[in-house]
Each structure stands twice: as structure tokens, then as C-alpha cells.
């Protein structure tokens, strides 16, 4: 009902050397205000492409082929380029793995963050912008923020740089923050700090977060809902606690088992054999079938419909979801 973002049947094509592939295939999910959705998948599963499609920031060889992206009820895919400009950075923020790529190396932090206020809120005076810049830098816990205004991105550590990138993206109090692997390049103790910061900001503002990650521990600690992607499609989605306790798709089950657990005395990690298919030669039927221990002829010929499992809250694209659930 109160979905902030509703993605419906999003499909994105990508022109590659081996022809046009469907990088995002009929993807649907929604995010509510104040909640965090995890998009999980291995490389090439389409999780980052999904975010780029929402932001309409696809690379030159990408094209949105269908679907709708409803943000506050409006279809972002129908917006003019200028209309999107007004949304990016203002209503939807986006942080990426390497903050260096989203920060301008030639601007000091004051101008970097100040630009957002200038562009989106029309604050023309540098002097009047300064307290706002200091305020937003303190909100991301940059120590002695007023003394760091003249620092350049390369003078910050990786963790501090990511904080600056977050400051840029929350400066206008966005309704939605897309965080694409925001902690992957950081040290583990700093990762925890950045996630704690995102949670603190979310509690203060009620913004929704889409967190793209391959780290299942992060999903478990940090997210409310999860959508697991495989070869361009969502294969299972629902509340994190339920899916981690009882996965209803063999791929999810395999991923969770393959994760080394602290303190377990196992001699071997239970494996998912093989590797994800190439998008240019997808198997007919279920894309996971060639690696799936349960696959039957049905799986090999027909892509599974959504199976609702345990009520309305979660679903799994597996013909045998109920059996997997056990």
C-alpha cells in the first residue's frame, strides 16, 4: 500500500560482443519508507544493473526494454531527462563501492558537498552554505568537520571518503538511498561503522534503503527484506529473518550453506557445483537447473512460476518451493 518504490517487470537489455543479453529480466519488488531491501546475487546476476535502471544511469550499451519504476506513484521511466536530474541526488541518493569514482578529485569537501545544496536547493552563497555543509558532515560523523572543509578526497581514508559520499547523498534528505556494495572496499571494522551510520541515518529520517551486496552476513544483520537474484532474475524474495531461517529456493539454500560459519568444525563446505550461466547462453527452463540437486525435466524445460510460500510475504521461483522449504 505505502510502497515508496515499486519496480514492476523491469527488463533491461545490454548489447555485448555476443549479442543482446537480458541483464535484468522481469524483475519486480517494492520498498517501503524506513525499510531496507537487500538485493543479493553473484557477479553478473543483474543486481547493479537493476539499480542503474532505477536511476536511469545505464551504460551506453544498456537499454530499458520494459516495465515500470514507480517512485512515489510516478513512473521514473516516463520522466524527461531533466525530470530525472531533479530526482537524482535530491529524492534518490546513490552510493557506490568506490567513493573515489563519485567524488570530484579537484574539489575540496566544502565545494563538493556545497554543490548539492547549490544545485538542488538553489543556495547560491558559499558563506550561507557553509553551516549546512558542516552540519551534514557532522551527521555522517566526520570528526572536526569544520576543520576538514578544505580537504580533498585523496586526503581522506577509504572509510572517511565513503562518509563524504554518503553526506553528498543525504544532504537533500532523500526518500530513498541506493547503496551499491558500499562497504566492499573497506576494512571489516570500518564496514560495521558505515552500516551502523546508514542505520542511524535511516532511523533519523525514515529513508528507505536498497542495499546491493554479495555479503550474506551483512544482509542478515542489516536488512529487513531480501531479493535474491540469479542470472538476471529474482529467484526468491521476502523477509530476511524468514528466508535465512528457511530458504524456499535451492539456490538460496546453497548460498547459505556454502558460507563458512565461525566456529563450525566442518571439514568441507557444502557446495553449489558449477558456475552461473552466461547471459548469452541461458539454459531453457529454470536458470539454476544445471546446478540444482533437485532439478527435474520440468525444471529443465519450463521457467518456474512464482510460488507463494508461507502466505503473502514471500515467494520463490522454484517448482518445488514447498519441498525445499521442508
Amino acid at each position: 500500500m505505502s510502497d515508496l518504490l515499486r519496480v514492476e517487470n523491469l527488463t533491461t537489455w545490454l548489447a555485448t560482443e555476443s549479442g543482446i543479453v537480458t541483464a535484468v529480466d522481469d524483475v519486480s519488488f517494492s520498498v517501503r519508507a524506513g525499510r531496507t531491501l537487500a538485493l543479493v546475487g553473484e557477479s553478473g546476476s543483474g543486481k547493479s544493473m537493476t539499480c542503474s535502471s532505477i536511476m536511469r544511469l545505464l551504460p551506453g550499451n544498456g537499454r530499458i526494454a520494459g516495465g515500470r519504476v514507480l517512485f512515489e506513484g510516478e513512473d521514473l521511466l516516463a520522466k524527461s531527462p531533466a525530470g530525472m536530474e531533479a530526482i537524482r541526488g535530491r529524492k534518490i541518493g546513490m552510493i557506490v563501492q568506490d567513493p573515489m569514482t563519485s567524488l570530484n578529485p579537484l574539489l575540496d569537501v566544502e565545494d563538493q558537498v556545497g554543490e548539492v545544496f547549490k544545485y538542488h536547493l538553489g543556495d547560491r552563497s558559499r558563506r550561507l552554505r557553509r553551516p549546512k555543509v558542516v552540519d551534514v558532515l557532522s551527521r555522517v560523523h566526520i570528526p572536526a568537520a569544520e576543520k576538514r572543509l578544505g580537504s580533498y578526497p585523496h586526503e581522506f581514508s577509504g572509510g572517511m571518503r565513503q562518509r563524504v559520499a554518503i553526506a553528498l547523498n543525504i544532504a537533500c534528505a532523500p526518500k530513498l538511498l541506493i547503496a551499491d556494495e558500499p562497504t566492499t572496499a573497506l576494512d571489516v571494522t570500518v564496514q560495521q561503522q558505515i552500516l551502523a551510520l546508514l542505520r542511524e541515518l535511516q532511523r533519523g529520517t525514515g529513508m528507505a534503503i536498497i542495499l546491493v551486496t554479495h555479503d550474506l552476513h551483512t544482509v542478515q544483520r542489516f536488512c529487513d527484506e531480501v531479493a535474491i537474484m540469479y542470472a538476471g532474475r529474482i529467484v526468491e524474495q521476502g523477509p530476511v529473518s524468514e528466508i535465512f531461517a528457511r530458504p524456499a529456493h535451492p539456490y538460496t539454500q546453497g548460498l547459505l550453506r556454502a558460507l563458512p560459519q565461525l566456529g563450525s568444525q566442518e571439514e568441507r563446505l557444502p557446495l553449489i557445483p558449477g558456475q552461473p550461466p552466461s547471459l548469452s547462453s541461458l539454459p531453457p527452463g529454470c536458470r539454476f537447473a544445471p546446478r540444482c540437486p533437485r532439478a527435474t525435466d520440468l525444471c529443465r524445460t519450463e521457467y518456474p512460476d512464482w510460488m507463494a510460500t508461507s502466505g503473502e510475504t514471500r515467494r520463490s521461483a522454484c517448482w518445488y518451493a514447498d519441498e525445499v522449504l521442508g
Binding site: D187, V188, Q275
Partner: protein
């Protein structure tokens, strides 16, 4: 009993220039570490960036010279190798690195990549014998025979790491230095490579020095674990001890960050610059339990119980404090 790899008071100091006219400062990347790795076991070095784990690995591989200290491999101090011994030493020890793509020549076919060390070391009499060895190695790392005809760019990250492992095994080494061997790989592929490495260790009796920032990987692979912080061990012990009875606040923070426990509080701050390490205990700037004594007096790495060393003044009581916090 006897260690295959033995490291004694190893130090590495880099001079860091601070501009033309200023005196260079000294960066203590590795500030005196000692450990033993018995044959057939795995020693896991865990730490964050700047902890000195990669510098340690480089010195063990002979790619970087220690400032002081001793590295003894298979009974020989590697600093005293003459030229012939150094050449033979390269057969004994092989690295497997994080990014298999940068470690493999893009212009060589997989069979040539694996064959190259065999050609250089001339340990097989004929081309045929070498080809058989290559086929055996491909099979040992779980690659199909057809992989021999391919180029690295035609392979996935996991397959490339298998090729890198096959090449490392070509010369029948006894020690592998594994520097973040799975951190560039996806979860399902990580598990495949970790299982492969354990199988190979069992089958070939290999000794591993494993470097990782991921405590779950370290825990799965290692016999003995050393936790590095700013070039020093803060805690060393058996895997079981470190994972279930760690006493150093930094080890506890690493464990918390790898566990699904939602309420684990993050450690504050970031790793200080190794150019100006904090006084006293190097961890006190980030330690939730730090007291005056920690700020002044550096703790020594002391034995708490057999095979458990901790560098913390309050190692005996720290778990109580964690529970109350």
C-alpha cells in the same frame, strides 16, 4: 613437532620520504613477529589493511627482504641461500594470490601457463612427460582436460584461480602462501576453492600460510591463527581458541563483525597510521575497554595458557567486561 616454516622476530621497516629536505620517517610495517607452522598445517594471518600481513607474506616468499629477523623454511634460513639454493627454494614454496587474472599471462594458453615452471626447472625429461604432468594437474584442481586449450580471459574467476593453483602445484611445492585466495570470488565459488585447497592439503601434505581479512575463511582453513594489528600480533592461538575464547578486544571485534549477531557494537575509529603508532597499547585508541595503563604501557605478548598468546593487560577479565557492556 618440528616446524616447516619458522619465523623469528621478523621486522620490516620502510623509510617514508616526507619531502625533499625533511628526514625520512620510518614506517614499521612488521614490528617483530614470531610464529611456527608445522608441516601439513595451516597458519592463518588475519588483519585489516596496514596490519602487515601482506608484507609478512612477501618476506616469507623471498620477494622482500626483512629488515631484521629470521625466516627458516625446511630447516634453512632463507637469507643464507646461495644462488643454487635460491633456485631450488622456489620449488619448495609457491604463492597463490588474490587476483588470478593479474597473475596469469593473458597471452598464454592454460597448458603453457602450467607448463612454464616445468620447463624452467627442467624436472621432466620429455615434452610428453610434461604434458602428462599438466593433464594430471588440471585434473587435480578439478578442471576438464579441455581447459588446457583455453586462454585465461575465456574463463571465470573461479576457473582462473584453479589454473593459478595448478601452476603453483606444478613443481611439487611443500608450502603455499595463500594471499587472500578467495576474496575476489563469489560466495558459491569461494566455497569450491576453499574445499579444493583443503583437499589438496590432505592429499599432498601441503603446509599453508594463509592470509585473509575474513575471519570465517581463516576459521575454516586454519590450524593456528595469528591476529595482526599494526604489524604486531595481538593474539595467537589455535583456531578453536581464537574463535571461541579470544581475549584481545581487537580479535573480539573481528569476530563480532563476522557473526550474524545484530547487536554487536562496531569498534570506533580506523587503523592509525603506522608512521605514528599510538603510545602504550597500539589498539588503545579504538579499544572500548582502554584505561590509563593501556595508554602508557605497551602490553607484551604473553602466554595465557598453553598455545594461547595475548597482548592485552586485561586479557583475563576482558570477556566479563564484554558481557557486561
Amino acid at each position: 613437532m618440528s616446524a616447516f616454516l619458522s619465523v623469528r622476530d621478523l621486522r620490516k621497516t620502510f623509510p617514508v620520504s616526507r619531502g625533499l629536505l625533511q628526514k625520512a620517517e620510518l614506517l614499521h610495517a612488521v614490528a617483530g613477529i614470531s610464529f611456527d607452522v608445522p608441516a601439513g598445517t595451516t597458519f592463518g594471518l588475519v588483519g585489516e589493511s596496514g596490519s602487515g600481513k601482506t608484507t609478512t607474506a612477501k618476506m616469507v616468499m623471498g620477494a622482500d627482504e626483512p629488515t631484521s629477523g629470521e625466516i627458516v623454511i625446511d630447516g634453512r634460513d632463507i637469507a643464507r641461500h646461495d644462488k643454487t639454493e635460491r633456485f631450488a627454494f622456489r620449488r619448495l614454496l609457491q604463492p597463490v594470490l588474490q587476483d588470478p587474472y593479474s597473475a596469469l599471462s593473458p597471452r598464454m594458453r592454460v597448458d603453457r601457463i602450467i607448463d612454464e615452471p616445468l620447463r624452467i626447472h627442467r624436472i621432466y625429461p620429455s615434452t610428453k612427460a610434461r604434458a602428462e604432468r599438466v593433464a594430471y594437474l588440471l585434473d587435480a584442481v578439478g578442471l576438464p582436460p579441455s581447459a588446457a586449450q583455453r586462454y585465461p580471459n575465456e574463463m571465470s574467476g573461479g576457473q582462473r584461480q584453479r589454473v593459478a593453483i595448478a601452476r603453483a602445484l606444478a613443481l611439487e611445492p611443500r608450502l603455499l602462501v595463500l594471499d587472500e585466495p578467495v576474496s575476489a570470488l563469489d560466495v558459491s565459488i569461494q566455497a569450491q576453492i576453499l574445499n579444493l585447497l583443503r583437499d589438496l592439503q590432505d592429499r599432498l601434505g601441503l603446509t599453508y600460510l594463509l592470509i585473509s581479512h575474513d575471519l570465517a575463511v581463516i576459521g575454516f582453513m586454519s590450524t593456528q591463527v595469528g591476529v595482526l594489528y599494526l604489524g604486531r600480533f595481538v593474539e595467537v592461538g589455535s583456531k578453536e581458541t581464537i574463535l571461541s575464547d579470544a581475549r584481545h578486544p581487537y580479535s573480539l571485534a573481528l569476530i563480532a563483525s563476522a557473526s550474524p549477531d545484530v547487536n554487536a557494537a562496531p569498534v570506533s575509529g580506523e587503523i592509525p597510521s603506522p608512521l605514528s603508532p599510538p603510545s602504550g597499547c597500539v589498539f588503545h585508541t579504538r579499544c572500548p575497554f582502554a584505561r590509563d595503563r593501556c595508554r602508557q604501557e605497551p602490553p607484551s605478548l604473553r602466554q595465557l595458557k598453553p598455545n594461547h598468546l595475548v597482548a592485552c593487560h586485561f586479557a583475563e577479565t576482558i570477556r566479563l567486561e564484554t558481557n557486561n557492556a
